[in-house]
């Protein structure tokens, strides 16, 4: 169902599932509806777990005796491995289930898979799924004691990616109100873009711009609180950060983009375009990077690039979210 009138994917508000009666994190499904103070708490807690690149990583016993299941129905390397490392540094036991090759392909339903995992006394599911709303669905059907973390669902949300990007931005720009952030690329299909925009707005970023071909921009872009630009030459000027999105070939069924070459010519982040950013401007990308498709290879490896820092920060931010969402003992 490729549409000529792109619309934004919407789910019912998740706030009712995400917080417990005391307002603490219970599940982490989307940035939408979460109080800004909670996002700030995630960033502060992540700072507690953060170790500099030259420091040895240390384990903490916060999740000792807990079992976390990485339930990945869609391919992922960065997200799955950093979730795994985060869980292990919190002393949890980790099960990695690659559902693309697992029992569901033999006909077992998702609910039966969940029942089986519950029977193994698992405490938390980290879910990646190609369908929007998959993590919500699981929350509504799992046992009460299990927490669910959304590691990306269809076109809907990728909240941990958004938070690790906020953490990275904060390292460079402590005062969000003074900065301009530009998101470039496939806004329409991107769960990353959606979550980023929600987080940037909630944390009070001064100006949020998007640059995309008209076919990859949701109609209601301006109602998201972002300023759309048609060209890189206009949109990048003076910005403190640019977040490049991957051109998601696997999610595009219509002819949204005429050709890769033309896309790169119009929207590719080249060295020349990087010069349009503010003097201290940084280049971000959630990965995986398509060199020469949405970003020039030399920019990926260049001095403005914080792409690998984003990956490293992913561990501390996911440690914060896992430890905050783990159910507390009642005693």
């Amino acid at each position: 169902m490729s549409s000529t009138q792109p619309t934004l994917f919407r789910l019912p508000p998740a706030a009712q599932y995400q917080l417990d009666e005391e307002g603490r994190l219970r599940h982490f499904l989307t940035i939408e509806g979460l109080p800004a103070a909670l996002l700030e708490e995630i960033l502060s807690t992540a700072q507690s777990f953060h170790t500099a690149a030259d420091q040895a990583a240390r384990k903490v016993p916060l999740l000792r005796g807990k079992t976390i299941v990485n339930l990945f129905f869609e391919a992922s390397t960065r997200t799955r491995t950093t979730f795994e490392l985060a869980a292990k540094r919190l002393s949890a036991d980790v099960l990695n289930l690659d559902m693309a090759t697992a029992a569901t392909t033999k006909g077992e339903s998702l609910l039966d898979t969940l029942r089986n995992l519950e029977a193994m006394h698992c405490d938390m599911f980290v879910v990646r799924h190609h369908q929007s709303g998959a993590a919500h669905f699981i929350v509504r059907h799992v046992a009460e004691h299990i927490s669910v973390i959304n590691a990306g669902d269809g076109r809907h949300a990728h909240p941990t990616q958004a938070m690790l990007d906020m953490f990275t931005l904060r390292q460079h720009f402590p005062d969000f109100s003074a900065i301009t952030v530009v998101i470039v690329g496939d806004i329409l299909h991107s769960r990353v873009a959606r979550s980023e925009i929600q987080a940037l707005r909630s944390l009070g970023v001064g100006e949020i711009r998007v640059i995309a071909p008209r076919t990859l921009l949701p109609r209601e872009a301006t109602s998201l609180g972002v300023i759309p630009f048609k060209s890189m030459e206009e949109g990048l000027v003076g910005a403190q950060a640019v977040i490049m999105l991957r051109l998601q070939k696997e999610r595009m069924h219509g002819s949204f983009v005429p050709s890769e070459d033309e896309y790169y010519r119009l929207y590719g982040l080249t060295r020349a375009r990087v010069e349009l950013l503010a003097e201290d401007g940084i280049v971000m990308h959630p990965g995986p990077v398509n060199r020469g498709v949405e970003i020039e290879s030399a920019v990926v490896d260049g001095p403005r690039s914080v792409i690998l820092k984003q990956v490293r920060n992913g561990i501390a931010v996911r440690m914060a979210i896992l430890s905050m969402a783990m159910r507390r003992h009642a005693w």
């Binding site: 603490r24 708490e41 502060s44 807690t45 700072q47 507690s48 240390r58 384990k59 903490v60 016993p61 916060l62 914060a320 430890s323 905050m324 783990m326 507390r328 003992h329 005693w331």
Partner: protein
């Protein structure tokens, strides 16, 4: 009615500082690492660190993530942690404000050993009170307070530093005597 009592600790700190100096001399420790436990322990450690004119910067630990009750209380952001790159073969003075159940000390020891294998760890506390639930004993103590299990003592500071002692059962004990 509960009673509040405020105790200035200036003199106790000065005396404890002298004890630390002679302790280090007796043990032949030339390059100690002072480590304070957040929050009150860091204030005490700062005072002792200055008193003993230690060259190496003061270490600071927040042991929250190593506590045995964190599954009940939930995770909170840590206060700033500052430690030497390695504690291998170092003589550590672990400093806290109040020694009560011993659980904080246990958590601190676990965290300390994440930074290496110290040659020795000695425990220095400003106040020791009864109520140990874990076999922990201080090497040096500023003062002992004979408090009941319901009584509370809290160090306020950092400048000035004073102990606030709260005895919730005072009236119950006093009234029959009237």
């Amino acid at each position: 009615m509960s009673s509040h009592e405020r105790v200035d600790v200036g003199a106790v700190l000065a005396h404890l500082g002298d004890s630390v100096k002679s302790f280090l001399t007796t043990r032949g420790i030339n390059l100690p690492v002072f480590v304070g436990i957040h929050t009150g322990g860091v204030w005490v450690a700062q005072a002792l660190h200055t008193h003993c004119a230690v060259a190496e910067p003061l270490g600071m630990l927040d042991v929250s993530y190593h506590r045995d009750d964190v599954a009940r209380t939930g995770v909170r952001p840590l206060k700033p942690v500052r430690m030497p790159a390695s504690l291998d073969d170092r003589h550590v003075l672990l400093i806290d404000d109040v020694l009560f159940t011993g659980r904080t000390t246990r958590a601190a020891l676990n965290e300390l050993f994440e930074y290496g294998r110290p040659a020795s760890v000695s425990l220095v506390v400003l106040v020791e009170r009864p109520g140990r639930e874990i076999p922990v004993a201080p090497d040096l103590t500023g003062m002992r307070l004979e408090l009941g299990p319901e009584d509370r003592v809290k160090l306020q500071g950092p400048d000035p530093m004073e102990l606030v002692i709260t005895r919730p059962n005072d009236s119950l004990l006093e009234e029959p005597a009237r």
